[in-house]
Structure formats: C-alpha cells, structure tokens
C-alpha cells in the first residue's frame, strides 16, 4: 500500500436511471425514466462522519446502493460516471464482485427485517464470516465481541423476530460489522427508533468513528447527528448543499424537507 492517504469514496459525475420494466403486450416500450441521480460529485475523506439529508424520493437510497455496488451489480439501470472505493473503480468494472466489496464497505439497509437471515441473534452475526470461510473459533470470538459491543448479551440465542426495533437494528449493524468493513453506510437508521434507541445508535456511531471507520448516514432526523463532519443536502438527485453542520442554515433544510 502506498504512503499516500487512501480516499475511501470518490464519486465522479455519477448519473443513474432505473430501468422501467413495462411489458405492454409484445412491444417493448423504452420510456425515458427521469434519472434518480444526476451528475453527483463527491469525495469522502477517511474517518469522517457524513450525513445525507433530503426529501423522500430525492435519491439518497439510490446513492447508497451505488456506493455499495448493489447498483449496478444487482440492480440494473443506466449508469454513467465513476464510483471509486479506496481508489478502485467499481461501477464500470464488471470484474469487481459484490462479495469483494463487502469487506470494504458495509450497508445497513432501512428495513432490519429484510436483512436478518438466521433464526438466532448469534447465528445471524456469524452469517457473513461463515460465508467468507472464517475458521469456527475465530467466528465465535468475533461474534461474542460484537454481541457485547451492541449490548445484546442477554439475547444471543433469541429469535430475531422477538427483538425490539432498536435491538433488531443493532443486530443488523453487528451483522454488517462482522464483515469488518472500513466504511459503513446507514440508510435511515434512527427514524423508526424511540429516544433511547436514537441515543444508543449515536453512541455506536461515535465508537465506530473513534475506531477509524468512515461513516455515511442517510437521515431525516439530521439534528441527532450534529457532531458529524459534513451535512450534504440531496435534492432531485443532485447535491444541493455540502458543508459542516453549523454552516448550513436550518431554515434552508426545513424548507427543502417539508415543502
């Protein structure tokens, strides 16, 4: 590895439009879908906490999926521009596989229920490392460590269906952290949590930052993350504002989010 500082994320002129799969009879109508992202440029430095803010439908989730390679590897569409993770282009290069990315960038999706795979808490955390053929004793140690970190000790053998919202979310975070990625992306992590859950999540983010991880958080409830290094406002698939939290006028955010 070179001595220069590796840049976790660089996005260059990224434009993406979902394919509309309309099957009207035999003719295939290729109706032009308005792009969900247009001309995004973004550089995110190592160890920073970045919050993406924007009204519903502005393209935040789509951007997360581009950063994690889900678009275009698993969800197809018309993509232009480049996404670089630690200097390696992932969007245009078809030799990059999604499983290779999972040890670099982890994605905690919005719905915990949609990403909990196994029938007990400890098995679900072990799912990723098992897939990458980690030896059993090492998985055990890693899982016990993550269970303690997320405060799930009493729930190790519980069925995830019986966890509270906050516990489910911490389980999904643990499941993604088990892949030991350097970048973590969270899609609306606190919007469905109560005050206690929010506070707990903020603690987790601060610990991850202290551990040197780069963190991206999509959230309406941006004021919870006033300690972030940057707030980025996304509007109609474009970056509308990008600054330290104190430099973005609250009135602007409120107008954009609640119009």
């Amino acid at each position: 590895m070179s001595t220069e500082k590796r840049i976790p994320i660089e996005v260059r002129n990224l434009t993406f439009a979902y394919e509309r799969d309309e099957k009207s009879g035999t003719e295939t109508t290729t109706t032009a879908v308005p792009p969900a992202l247009s001309g995004i440029d973004l550089t995110i430095e190592s160890g920073t906490v970045v919050v993406l803010i924007g009204p519903s439908g502005s393209g935040k989730t789509t951007l997360c999926k581009c950063l994690t390679g889900i678009i275009p590897k698993l969800i197809k569409g018309n993509l232009d521009g480049e996404v670089l993770i630690f200097g390696r282009e992932i969007a245009q290069d078809s030799s990059v596989e999604i499983s290779m990315l999972s040890t670099q960038i982890g994605f905690v999706m919005q719905e915990p229920d949609h990403q909990i795979v196994m029938t007990t808490v400890e098995d679900d955390i072990a799912f990723g490392p098992e897939n990458s053929m980690m030896p059993s004793p090492e998985i055990r140690a890693l899982v016990d460590h993550l269970i303690a970190d997320m405060g799930l000790e009493a729930k190790a053998e519980t069925n995830p269906n019986n966890l509270s919202g906050g516990e489910k979310q911490r389980l999904t975070v643990a499941g993604v952290l088990a892949m030991e990625p350097e970048i973590m992306v969270f899609d609306e992590p606190v919007s469905s949590l109560d005050a206690v859950g929010k506070a707990h999540f903020v603690e987790i983010v601060k610990e991850l930052k202290a551990a040197g991880k780069t963190i991206i958080i999509v959230e309406h409830d941006y004021e919870v993350f006033d300690f972030a290094d940057r707030w980025i406002l996304i509007k109609d698939g474009r970056v509308a504002a990008d600054a330290i939290p104190s430099a973005i006028p609250k009135t602007l955010l409120e107008r954009e989010l609640w119009r």
């Binding site: 994690t68 889900i70 698993l74 969800i75 596989e97 999604i98 499983s99 990315l101 999972s102 982890g106 994605f107 999706m109 719905e111 229920d113 949609h114 990403q115 795979v117 196994m118 029938t119 007990t120 400890e122 098995d123 072990a126 799912f127 990723g128 490392p129 098992e130 897939n131 990458s132 053929m133 980690m134 030896p135 059993s136 998985i139 055990r140 899982v143 269906n161 019986n162 499941g175 993604v176 892949m179």
Partner: protein
Amino acid sequence: MNENRAIKKGRLRILDPRPKLMLMASASTACMLTSNLWYIASILVVLVVTLLIGGMNLSLLWNRAKAIFMLIIMLFVIQTLFFGMGRADAAPLLHIGGFGFVYTGGILLAAMLSLRLLVIVFAGLILLEGEIRDYLLALVQMKIPYTFAFMVVIGLHFLPILREEATNVYCCMQLRGKDFKKLKLTGKIRAYIGICLPILVSALRRADEMSIAMETRGFRSQPRRTYMRQLKMRGADIALTILFPAIFVGLYFLVKFL
C-alpha cells in the same frame, strides 16, 4: 420453533436433529410402501410412544394439532360415505332413499389414508421439537448442498412472519369497520383476497431485498462455507438413528408373518 414449546427441555429437544430426521424419513417412507392397515397403525404407535417418552404433554399435543385432527376426521367421514357410490360389484351397508352409502371398501381405504396422514402429522410434531438452526447444521453435515439447506431454513423462518403480517392486515380491516362474521361467502372470499394481496406484495419485496442483503454479506461467494457451531452425535443419538428404521423393518416382518 415458537414460544409455546410443548416440551421445555424434554428429551426430544435435547436429541440431535439427525435421529429425528431419520425417524421422519423412515416413518413416512414405510407408511407409503404398504397398504397394510396393521402395519401403518403400528408405525403410528411407535411415533406416539416416542412423543410420550420424549416428554410431550397430551393436552398440549391436542391443542397443537387440533385443527389437523379435525380435518382428518372430516376426510374420513366423507371418504366412507361416498367412496364406491353407484358401484354394482359391492354391497352398500346403508340405504337412504334408494341410494347406497358406506361400503366396506370405502371404510378400509378411508382408514388407511387417515392413518397415513396421522403418521405424517405425528412425525412432523416430533420434528417441531427442535431448533431450525440445528436442522440447518444437520442437513449441511449430511452433505446436503448448503444453498438447498438454506432455502428450506429461510422458508421455515418466514412462515411465522407471514402469519404475523396476515394478522396485522386482518386487524387493520376490522378497525376500518369490516366485520368478517357478517360477510356472505362471496364477500368473505373478496376480503381474504384483500388480506392475501398486500402480504404477497410485501413478501416479494422482502425476498428481493433479502437476496441482495445476503449477497452483500458474501452468501454464495465461495463453493463452501464454515459454521460457527458444530453438531456432535452422542452414543444415544447414533443408536436412535439406527434403531428407528430398524424398528420399522422389524415391524414389517412381524405384521407379515403374524
């Protein structure tokens, strides 16, 4: 597998999953291979005895399988009543208004089918006394391809979630003033479609996102995978895995020569 376990820490629950899988497989195969009523009944006895020795409480057992038992009784009655109707070569046991009902052949066939169904139900009840996670490990350690084993396990995992969603939609409809008890049959059918459609849509979406989530966590990136836990067969587990099929073979010859 769910909260109201019939056996808290009973013998069946401690048992390795492999003897239970073997019991399920050998019992259901054996009851399909022959139509001898005594033989199928004896398989059923073995299963019930296993459940009782395993510590199953009879009233809990009844609660669990009540609906299925009722269904089996209903099927039995319908089978006996109408099987063989209008056939010239058999004499009906019952005459109502010039029509013949209930034939000896019908009773025998109905008894056989009901017994077979009961065997499958009881074998299923034995399987229920175990954790899904252990069956996954058992299947994999039996050299079943892991993608297949996961398919089965995730399917089982989703059933309670689907049921919960169904109850939610049902409650929502009642809150909006739909009284299911007052609906006529067509209205009932329409209402149930109204319950099933949203569940289907959300299940499809969930399956979609789930497959993406699994791939981002490296599922199927390697031809093999490792496992945090390992199942170990103790002496009793090995003995039972051999004993169960041996009992059914023994019973077969016993019934045959008696």
